[in-house]
């Protein structure tokens, strides 16, 4: 069983109360959102389909001292960072749907405030070398998104540009979003798309085919939008325009991967004229530029079924990156993931692929430990 180092690219954190974050909002917007006078939304509503047990969090992650799950650093350490060998964890807000507020200028201001709050309160405030931050990107005004990336790119602890809310209702590979990717490419930061956020708020397509009625439907089908964005990135030639850009797809499961690669490659010979930027098979772009997080890992009756399904996509062990999704309700324990995947994949999935995606230098000693685990 793998017990080597872990890079977790999806750890959710949030402010204890809105007031904490509002202190970082520019004065003209802070006035609008003053909690004593009104209840202006600071995030696109995600409450439409609350989990049947109450909310979308593990029920043991509520801090005793108050505040919502994910708001207490000490509890994060106690439940996740300390008992497991987590070497690096990337904070991803409570998904970060602030960019999905209808007013585009307010949405941009909220993203700026959230990023400043994150740096001040979590990265600098706790000064824990395991913690890294994401630049929450405003998407309705892509130029604002690019500016936000440039504003933080010099901070070595801000390691990816987090794209969540689908501000303009177009699949994320659409050229209208390319100013964001140009900035990320210039700054050599990966784009991380966290599933779910683009399905709340501004957009009306939570799932394909119509509005779901239950969390059960929505959550089962949530990966649909991720597949849309992946196909869009590739067919719009994003990786030809920005050859050093990397894309991390977070929280859409994994078992659909062979199917998507097969379909994109199958239609490429006949339809490539529609995508003149493309110069090679879609699956080649995928393997060179994209990683997909393991969570929520599909649970097949037989472990072998999942492995055989994944192995149908050659080299999938180089695409998968572990994520826990702590403290959300469909969190994956690394023990569970390690038990379900081949032991030989573990050093890559838990550690090496994350290093590569984030262009982090390997800690030689840690790398040795990870590799040794695969041989056990």
């Amino acid at each position: 069983m793998y017990s080597g180092p872990i890079i977790d690219v999806d750890v959710h954190h949030r402010w204890k109360s809105d007031v904490d974050m509002l202190a970082y909002l520019e004065p003209e917007w802070r006035e609008l959102a003053d909690r004593e006078r009104n209840e202006v939304w600071l995030e696109a509503p995600i409450a439409l389909f609350h989990h049947s047990t109450g909310w979308n969090k593990r029920s043991d992650t509520v801090p005793e001292a108050g505040g919502p799950p994910g708001s207490d650093y000490e509890l994060l350490c106690e439940q996740w960072l300390d008992p497991y060998p987590v070497e690096r964890a990337i904070l991803t807000f409570d998904v970060g749907t602030n960019a999905g507020i209808p007013n585009p200028m307010f949405a941009s201001a909220l993203c700026r405030a959230a990023n400043d709050w994150n740096i001040d309160t979590w990265l600098d405030g706790h000064n824990d070398p395991r913690l890294y931050g994401s630049i929450l990107v405003p998407t309705q005004l892509p130029e604002d998104g690019a500016a936000e990336i440039y504003r933080h790119a010099g901070n070595p602890r801000m390691v990816q540009a987090l794209v969540v809310s689908n501000g303009l209702g177009k699949p994320f590979g659409h050229p209208i979003y390319h100013p964001i990717y140009a900035a990320a490419a210039e700054c050599d930061l990966p784009i991380a798309i966290h599933n779910g956020g683009d399905q709340w708020g501004l957009t009306t397509h939570m799932t394909a085919g119509g509005m779901p009625a239950t969390r059960f439907e929505f959550h089962t089908l949530a990966p649909q939008s991720g597949l849309t964005h992946l196909a869009s990135f590739i067919t719009n030639g994003v990786f030809e325009k920005f050859p050093n850009l990397r894309l991390s797809m977070i929280e859409i499961g994994v078992s659909w991967l062979p199917w998507l690669l097969w379909q994109l490659d199958r239609y490429y010979p006949e339809l490539k004229k529609e995508s003149p930027l493309l110069k090679k098979l879609p699956s080649e772009y995928f393997r060179e530029h994209i990683t997909v997080t393991t969570q929520p890992l599909e649970m097949t009756d037989r472990r072998e079924d999942l492995i055989e399904g994944l192995e149908a996509a050659d080299g999938i062990e180089d695409i998968l990156v572990f994520s826990s999704d702590y403290p959300h309700w469909d969190f994956d324990d690394p023990t569970f993931v390690a038990r379900r995947l081949p032991a030989s994949w573990a050093p890559k999935v838990f550690y090496e692929n994350g290093l590569r995606m984030l262009r982090w230098p390997a800690n030689a000693k840690t790398l040795e430990l990870a590799s040794a685990q695969a041989e056990e």
């Binding site: 069983m1 793998y2 017990s3 989990h51 049947s52 047990t53 593990r58 029920s59 043991d60 992650t61 106690e78 008992p83 497991y84 060998p85 009756d301 309700w329 469909d330 969190f331 994956d332 324990d333 690394p334 023990t335 569970f336 390690a338």
Partner: protein, 142 residues
Amino acid sequence: MFVDVGACDEFEEGVARVVMASGRQLGVVRWRGEVFAVRNICPHQLGPICGGHTMPLIAPGDDGVARVHDDTLVIICPWHSWEFEARTGKATWSDRFKLKTYPAKVEGGRVLVDVGDPKIRDDETGAPSGRMARKIAQRSAA
């Protein structure tokens, strides 16, 4: 062999309390005159199941209408909300998964549980809940 895990009134009605008994970390819950003991490990992802909450079983009858079953208590894992009957350990949706249960009784105001003599003993702190986490903890302590 039954071992004493505490006075009956130390166990709040309907709340699973984690105790150690013969090297096993258990959740013990008193409910409507009965007492149940289960292992504090969810068979799904090995989460500390007794850190969650309990409630009467809600399940549909043959007519497809959900009803509250007041005669059956379920324990719900805090991690992923998997539900198991406290009395039998059966998962509420499948025969494939089962929570380990142990004989439990109340005698003379004391709660007694029989866990046998397990070969591998649980970590008393209960903090790391996964096998890998325990392995790490053991390595750190060494």
